[in-house]
C-alpha cells in the first residue's frame, strides 16, 4: 500500500461528491419540467421527437400504463438487437460493413447477448474483437447501451414521483422521461466523455485491424474500431460491456493513469447525481444526503478491504517465492491480471466502482483477485446493487430498502410507519419486500441449478479445475459469480466461466453452451424486469396517498440514526441470503493458504 494509493481513494470520493451534487440539482430540474441551461439547444429536438413518436407527452400515465410502455419498448429493442446480431454476415450486408467477414454467433449465444444488453447487464460470453463487426457494435450494442441506461433512470424518476406525488395516480409519462433522459442527461455527458477519452488515446476509427512488423521480426495484428463513442456511454450508463474482450484493461479502452481515474468518475457520476436529485425532488435535501452517506460508507468500506487484500498478495505468489512487499520502483501486491499503469490501488478502486454499480466493466481480472479481494465484488453484488448501484436501478433499489427500514423502525418504536408524510401500509411493504428478494432468489436458484448439473459444470474454465479434475472453490466461485452478476445486471465476471466456444475469430466453427447461455439470459431478464414492476407498483401505491404533516413521534429518515439503520438492513438482508454461498467460494480461499 502506498500513500498515492490512499490519496487516490480519498480524492475520488471528494471529487465524485463535488460533481454529483450539481448534476443532481440539474436532473431534478429536468424531471420536474423546469428550464435548464441546455433547454435552448434541446427543446426543439425534444418537440420534434415527440412528433415522430406520436406521443402526447403531457398525458400522465398510471403505473400500469407506464410499465406497459416500458416493457413494449424494451421488447422492441431486444428483437431488433437479436436480428442485427444474427444477420452480421447476411447477404444484404455490404462487404464494406463486414470487411473481416465475421459470421454471426450461434442463436444461444446471441440470445444471451441480446438479453444482456437490453437489461443493462452487458454480461459477455463473446469477445468483442473476434465476434462483432463495427456495424453490430454501433447500431446494435451502442444503441442498447443508451436505451437500457435510460430505462433504468426513468424507473427511478417514476418511483420518486410516486413517493412525492400529492394526488392522483400519474407517475409521469414514460416516453417523455426516456426522451428527456437521452437528450438532457446522457447525450451531453456522453459526448463530453467520449471526446475527452479520444483525446487521451481511446481509439475512434473505422480502420481495418492494423498489421505491425515489429523490430524483432514478428508480426502483430492489432484490433481497431469506433471505441470512444461506445466506451463513454457504457461507462456513463453503467453498462460495462467492453468493445474488446479485456474491457477497460485494454489499452485502447483505458490508455493511461489519468483515463482510469476519469473513467471511474464517469461510472459513478449519474448514480451519485440521482441520489442528490432525489433529495431535491422531495423538497428536503437531507433525505438525499442520508442515502448518499449510507452508500459512501459502504463504498469506502469495500474499497479499503479490496485494496488491503490485493496489496497483500496471493497464496500462489507466496508459494512461488515472490516478494509482494512494496520495493523501490514497484508497489508489489497481487499483480496477476492487473495492468502496470493502474497498479494495485487503481485496480482495486475500479473493481469496487464497477461492482457496487451495475457497470461491471473491469480493468483487472476479478478471477485473479485474492480470496478476500474477490469476496468484495461478491459482497457488493450481494447487497443487490444499492451502493450507488446502476443508473436508476441503484436509486429505486435502495428506496425499496428505505421503505423496509422505515417499516422495521416503525415496528421498533411501535408506531405506524410513515415516510415523507405518507403512511406505509401492508401493500407497499409486501411489494418492496418482493422487489428486494427477487434478485437474490434468481441468483441462488440459477447457481444451484448450474452447480448441481453436469451441463452447468461444462462452463467452468480449465484453470479453475484442480489437477485431480475435481471442482475447486474457484470453480464454484466462477459459477456463483456468473449468475449473481447476471441477476444483478452487473456483467463483470470471473471470466473463466464460459458459454461460448470460439476456436476462430469470426465465429466460424463456434458453438454456444446452451445451458449457460439460456439460463443466464432468463436470469438477467427476470431479475431486471420483476424488480422494475415492483418498484413501479410501489410508485403507484404511494402516488395516491395523502400527506400528513410529521408529528413528534415520526421517525426521521434524514439523520445519522437512520443511516445506521439502513446500513444494518442492507447488510442483514444480503448476509442472511448469501453468507453460506460466499463461504464455499471466495471466503474459504481467503482464509487458507492452501493451493488447489
Amino acid at each position: 500500500m502506498t500513500f498515492a494509493g490512499w490519496l487516490t481513494i480519498v480524492l475520488f470520493a471528494v471529487i465524485l461528491t463535488a460533481l454529483g451534487f450539481p448534476l443532481g440539482s440539474y436532473m431534478a430540474k429536468v424531471y420536474t419540467g423546469k428550464r435548464v441551461i441546455l433547454s435552448p439547444i434541446f427543446a426543439g429536438p425534444e418537440r420534434f421527437l415527440y412528433g415522430i413518436l406520436r406521443v402526447d407527452h403531457e398525458r400522465g400515465q398510471d403505473w400500469k400504463q407506464y410499465a406497459k410502455s416500458l416493457l413494449i419498448f424494451s421488447l422492441a429493442g431486444w428483437l431488433l438487437l437479436y436480428v442485427i446480431l444474427r444477420t452480421q454476415d447476411a447477404f444484404f450486408v455490404p462487404h464494406a460493413l463486414n470487411p473481416l467477414g465475421y459470421h454471426s454467433a450461434p442463436w444461444n449465444v446471441t440470445f444471451n447477448i441480446a438479453s444482456s444488453f437490453m437489461t443493462n447487464t452487458n454480461w459477455q460470453f463473446y469477445s468483442g474483437e473476434t465476434t462483432m463487426t463495427y456495424l453490430s457494435q454501433m447500431i446494435g450494442l451502442t444503441v442498447q447501451n443508451w436505451l437500457s441506461a435510460g430505462v433504468g433512470i426513468v424507473v427511478a424518476v417514476a418511483l420518486v414521483r410516486g413517493i412525492i406525488g400529492r394526488s392522483g395516480k400519474s407517475i409521469g409519462n414514460f416516453w417523455q422521461d426516456i426522451v428527456r433522459t437521452i437528450l438532457y442527461v446522457l447525450a451531453p455527458l456522453s459526448v463530453f466523455v467520449a471526446i475527452v477519452l479520444a483525446s487521451q488515446g481511446v481509439i475512434a476509427n473505422l480502420s481495418t485491424y492494423m498489421t505491425v512488423h515489429t523490430i524483432t521480426g514478428l508480426t502483430q495484428s492489432i484490433a481497431m474500431g469506433p471505441v470512444a463513442s461506445q466506451h463513454s456511454i457504457m461507462l456513463l450508463g453503467t453498462n460495462g460491456g467492453g468493445f474488446f474482450n479485456t474491457n477497460s484493461a485494454h489499452p485502447f479502452e483505458n490508455p493511461s493513469q489519468f483515463t482510469n481515474f476519469f473513467e471511474m468518475l464517469s461510472v459513478l457520476i449519474i448514480p451519485a447525481g440521482l441520489v442528490f436529485m432525489y433529495g431535491r425532488m422531495t423538497g428536503n435535501r437531507r433525505q438525499g444526503f442520508a442515502i448518499y452517506a449510507t452508500m459512501m460508507v459502504m463504498f469506502l468500506g469495500a474499497v479499503i478491504v479490496a485494496y488491503v487484500a490485493e496489496a497483500h498478495g496471493s497464496p500462489a505468489q507466496h508459494a512461488a517465492g515472490l516478494n509482494t512487499h512494496v520495493i523501490s520502483g514497484s508497489t508489489g501486491g497481487n499483480m496477476e491480471g492487473k495492468e502496470q499503469r493502474f497498479g494495485i490501488a487503481g485496480s482495486a478502486l475500479f473493481d469496487v466502482v464497477t461492482t457496487v454499480t451495475s457497470c461491471g466493466a473491469v480493468n483487472s481480472a476479478i478471477e485473479s483477485f485474492t480470496g478476500i479481494g474477490g469476496a468484495v465484488p461478491f459482497a457488493n453484488l450481494s447487497a443487490s446493487e444499492v451502493i450507488f448501484g446502476g443508473v436508476g436501478t441503484g436509486l429505486y433499489s435502495i428506496l425499496l430498502y428505505v421503505l423496509l427500514a422505515v417499516f422495521i423502525g416503525g415496528l421498533m418504536v411501535g408506531r405506524t410507519p410513515e415516510w415523507l408524510g405518507k403512511k406505509l401500509e401492508a401493500r407497499e411493504i409486501k411489494l418492496a419486500g418482493l422487489g428486494i428478494l427477487i434478485t437474490p432468489l434468481a441468483a441462488l436458484f440459477c447457481t444451484a441449478l448450474a452447480t448441481a448439473s453436469s451441463a452447468g459444470r461444462k462452463s467452468i474454465s480449465e484453470v479453475a479445475l484442480s489437477k485431480a479434475g475435481t471442482n475447486t472453490p474457484q470453480g464454484f466461485s466462477e459459477t456463483f459469480y456468473a449468475y449473481l452478476s447476471q441477476a444483478n445486471n452487473n456483467g463483470s465476471a470471473f471470466a473463466g466461466y464460459t458459454g461460448f466456444i470460439q476456436p476462430n475469430a469470426g465465429s466460424l466453427g463456434s458453438h454456444g453452451i446452451t445451458f449457460a447461455d439460456v439460463l443466464g439470459g432468463f436470469d438477467m431478464m427476470f431479475a431486471r424486469y420483476a424488480p422494475i414492476l415492483f418498484a413501479l407498483a410501489v410508485a403507484g401505491a404511494l402516488a395516491g396517498k395523502r400527506v400528513t404533516p410529521a408529528g413528534l413521534g415520526t421517525m426521521r429518515t434524514d439523520n445519522p440514526t437512520f443511516v445506521v439503520l439502513l446500513i444494518g438492513v442492507i447488510v442483514l438482508v444480503g448476509a442472511l441470503t448469501f453468507f453460506p454461498a460466499l463461504l464455499l467460494g471466495p471466503i474459504v480461499q481467503g482464509l487458507t493458504g492452501h493451493l488447489y
Binding site: 498515492a4 471526446i195 524483432t216 479485456t246 500462489a316 514497484s330 497481487n334 491480471g337 485473479s368
Partner: protein, 229 residues
C-alpha cells in the same frame, strides 16, 4: 387506436429513430471529430520507423525472435510461432493471449485464481525464465549483481490483465537495464537515463502507477546503438 397498439407503434418508431441517432449519427460524429481533432490518438498512436509501421505506443509487444527449426523455418506449436526473448531489448510483462504473447487481435485474461496450483506453476516458470534471461551466458553470473528471486518485481512474473500491457515497473526496468547495457555495450547510466525518459508519471500527480513504456524505450535504444556504430 387502442392504447397498447399505440404503444407498439411508438416503440417501433422509437427504436428505429434511436438506432439511427445513437447507433449511426452519434458514433460517426464522435469518430469524425476525433479523426480531425486527435488523429494520432484516434488511430492508436502508431509508431513508424523508416515509413514502416512498427507498433502502437499503447500496445505491448513481444520483443522476441522466432526460434528456427533445423531447416531454417520458424518453429510452430499449435499454429503459434515459438519465440525466444531477445536479450538486447527490454521485455514486456507475461501475456496470456492465445496464438502467442501480446496478440492484439484477441486480448484475454489469464484467469489464474489466487489459490491455484496452476498459478503457482506459471509464476515459477516466469521466475525461472526471468532469471535465465538476466544471466550472463559467458560468466554464468547475473547481469544485475543483486538479483535474487526476492528482488524480482511482481509485474515481471504475473501476467497482465489485457495481455497487452505496454508498460513495466521501474524496478523491472532497472534490473533489465543491467542486461541491456551489457549486451549493447552501453553504460548503465545511459540506459537508466533512457528508462527515466520513457517513464510515464501518475495521472494528475496521484492516480495509478509510474510505468516504463517498453516499445519507446527499445526504439530509443536502437537509435542510440545505430548512432554509435
Amino acid at each position: 387506436m387502442k392504447p397498447w397498439l399505440r404503444d407498439i407503434v411508438t416503440a417501433v418508431i422509437g427504436i428505429i429513430v434511436f438506432t439511427v441517432l445513437l447507433g449511426l449519427v452519434y458514433p460517426l460524429a464522435i469518430t469524425g471529430i476525433s479523426q480531425v481533432a486527435f488523429p494520432g490518438d484516434a488511430n492508436g498512436q502508431q509508431i513508424h520507423l523508416d515509413g514502416k509501421l512498427v507498433g502502437s505506443k499503447l500496445i505491448g509487444q513481444n520483443f522476441a525472435t522466432p526460434v528456427l527449426e533445423k531447416n531454417g523455418k520458424p518453429k510452430e506449436v499449435k499454429g503459434a510461432v515459438v519465440t525466444e526473448a531477445d536479450p538486447r531489448y527490454f521485455q514486456t510483462r507475461p501475456s496470456a493471449t492465445e496464438g502467442g504473447a501480446d496478440n492484439a487481435a484477441a486480448s484475454t485474461f489469464s484467469n489464474h485464481g489466487p489459490n491455484s496450483v496452476k498459478t503457482k506453476e506459471a509464476d515459477e516458470e516466469n521466475i525461472k525464465a526471468y532469471l535465465e534471461l538476466n544471466k550472463n551466458p559467458a560468466s554464468k553470473g547475473e547481469y544485475d549483481p543483486g538479483l535474487t528471486v526476492a528482488k524480482i518485481p511482481v509485474d515481471a512474473v504475473n501476467s497482465s490483465a489485457s495481455g497487452l500491457d505496454p508498460e513495466i515497473s521501474k524496478a523491472n526496468a532497472w534490473i533489465q537495464a543491467y542486461r541491456v547495457a551489457a549486451v549493447r555495450k552501453l553504460s548503465l547510466a545511459t540506459v537508466d537515463g533512457l528508462v527515466a525518459k520513457y517513464t510515464s508519471g501518475r495521472g494528475l500527480g496521484f492516480s495509478g502507477e509510474e510505468g516504463v513504456n517498453v516499445l519507446e524505450l527499445n526504439l530509443a535504444l536502437d537509435r542510440l546503438s545505430e548512432g554509435k556504430s
